[in-house]
């Protein structure tokens, strides 16, 4: 189609109106490990696979789900190192907001500022887009919220979403299972079942990560033993 002739430069549109580099970034996301998020009536849960390259890797040293502020957490699909840069920038932006207003940053504002950073890297010279999509889960005065941010810098609020390898199956599963009045515990179960759908091998507390935030407005990453409890309930 001639598109490939425009894939050398991020800052050049192809004739079909696309920025081919962003498409490639989305492909990088699509081949990353599955992660998903579900917004319940009284909280949000985010979860991801944690497949390590070898059994020799110390799984306690790997943390894919990160805290941005006490009431906002994030998980990614795609390139881990890129997500670390974004987490660092987002944390700084959240703290700058607090220093100015002495008020915790609302989830929508933090998502917008993170998305702005990602967009800047699609319109600058000498840089490439981030190879991650983020799922941001938070609880503030507007209630529980779940946002997905893409490498292009666009962001959407979701009731439930998935990203990564198994995205289409996971989304179909979520569409069937999602109800508006779901409680947080039900959402965690549904998240585990969704991960199980496309999981290669045996799911265990050592190869998935789950983060929750409830009415207490405190984002918590579940310990392996807490994950184990949920897994038992699901079996």
């Amino acid at each position: 189609m001639g598109d490939s002739q425009y894939s050398f430069s991020l800052t050049t549109f192809s004739p079909s109106g696309k920025l081919v580099q962003i498409e490639h970034a989305l492909t990088a996301v699509g081949s990353g490990q599955t992660s998903l998020g579900i917004k319940a009536a009284n909280g949000v849960v985010i979860a991801t696979e944690k497949k390590l390259p070898s059994i020799l890797v110390d799984e306690t040293s790997v943390q894919k789900i990160q805290i941005l502020t006490p009431n906002i957490g994030v998980v990614y699909s795609g390139m881990g190192p890129d997500s670390r840069v974004l987490v660092r920038k987002s944390r700084k932006q959240a703290e700058q907001y607090f220093r100015l207003y002495k008020e915790p940053i609302p989830v929508t504002q933090l998502v917008r500022e993170t998305a702005t950073v990602m967009q800047e890297f699609t319109q600058s010279g000498g840089v490439r887009p981030f190879g991650v999509s983020l799922l941001v889960a938070g609880f503030d005065d507007k209630g529980p919220q779940l946002y997905q941010v893409d490498p292009s810098g666009s962001y959407f609020s979701w009731k439930a979403s998935a990203m990564g390898k198994n995205v289409s199956n996971a989304k179909t599963f979520l569409e069937k299972r999602y109800t508006d009045d779901m409680e947080l515990d039900d959402a965690v179960h549904t998240a585990i079942l969704t991960l199980k759908e496309g999981f290669e091998g045996q799911i265990s507390s050592k190869n998935i990560e789950i983060g929750v935030i409830g009415n207490d407005k405190t984002f918590k990453i579940l310990t392996p033993s807490e994950i184990e409890d949920y897994l038992q309930e699901v079996e």
Partner: protein, 204 residues
């Protein structure tokens, strides 16, 4: 003569029962000469948030313009009004930015916060916040105002009584100060309405 006494000003804010009142004098002077008798020192940020700026008139006008700018952007981005506590933190940060070349203003901030709880505070010209539960004062007549408020104030006054009290405190204090006066301007704010009244005192 101190730069804070160049134009002359008097400001006071008081807390009542689910309401607050903020009042100022109306004189604008250039040292001993009176130049205006209808000068506005109290500005509305939104229906439940007012700021009074005492001190050098040019700085108080410029500072007000900067604050309104910041608040408008905040309203557009966050789709909500700023809480008084948040606004006070913002004013404090903006004043401290100019730590070594400050605005010669002393702000008095008054507003209704969450669940319409009255909030008042003042700060010095470089942003040191002073929260109070009863009243705050600023301006060249501040010492008289402290005395008048301390003796006239009662907690949990209703709107009518609060208006009387703050008006009496203001008028009696500015009469003892040659640089402020020429009447008063009082805003009485309850969760449902804002009342603005002009006071006629000793016109000197």
């Amino acid at each position: 003569m101190s730069i804070f006494e160049y134009n002359g000003s008097a400001l006071v804010a008081m807390v009542g029962k689910n309401c607050f009142a903020i009042a100022s004098d109306r004189r604008l002077g250039v040292q001993l000469q009176t130049v205006a008798t209808d000068f506005q020192r109290i500005y509305k940020i939104h229906d439940k948030l007012f700021i009074g700026l005492s001190g050098l008139a040019t700085d108080s006008q410029t500072l007000y313009q900067r604050l309104v700018f910041r608040h408008k952007l905040y309203q557009l981005r966050e789709e909500r009004d700023m809480k008084p506590e948040t606004f006070a933190s913002l004013v404090s940060a903006i004043l401290y930015e100019k730590r070594f070349g400050p605005y010669f203003c002393q702000p008095v901030i008054a507003g209704l916060g969450d669940e319409d709880k009255p909030f008042i505070c003042t700060m010095d010209s470089i942003g040191a916040k002073e929260l109070a539960k009863d009243f705050v004062v600023a301006g060249t007549a501040s010492e008289s105002l402290y005395g008048a408020c301390e003796s006239m104030f009662k907690p949990d006054m209703e709107a009518e009584e609060l208006f009387e009290t703050i008006s009496q405190a203001l008028l009696s204090s500015v009469d003892r100060d040659c640089l402020s006066g020429w009447g008063g301007h009082v805003y009485l704010v309850t969760p449902t309405e804002v009342t603005e009244k002009i006071l006629k005192g000793r016109m000197d």
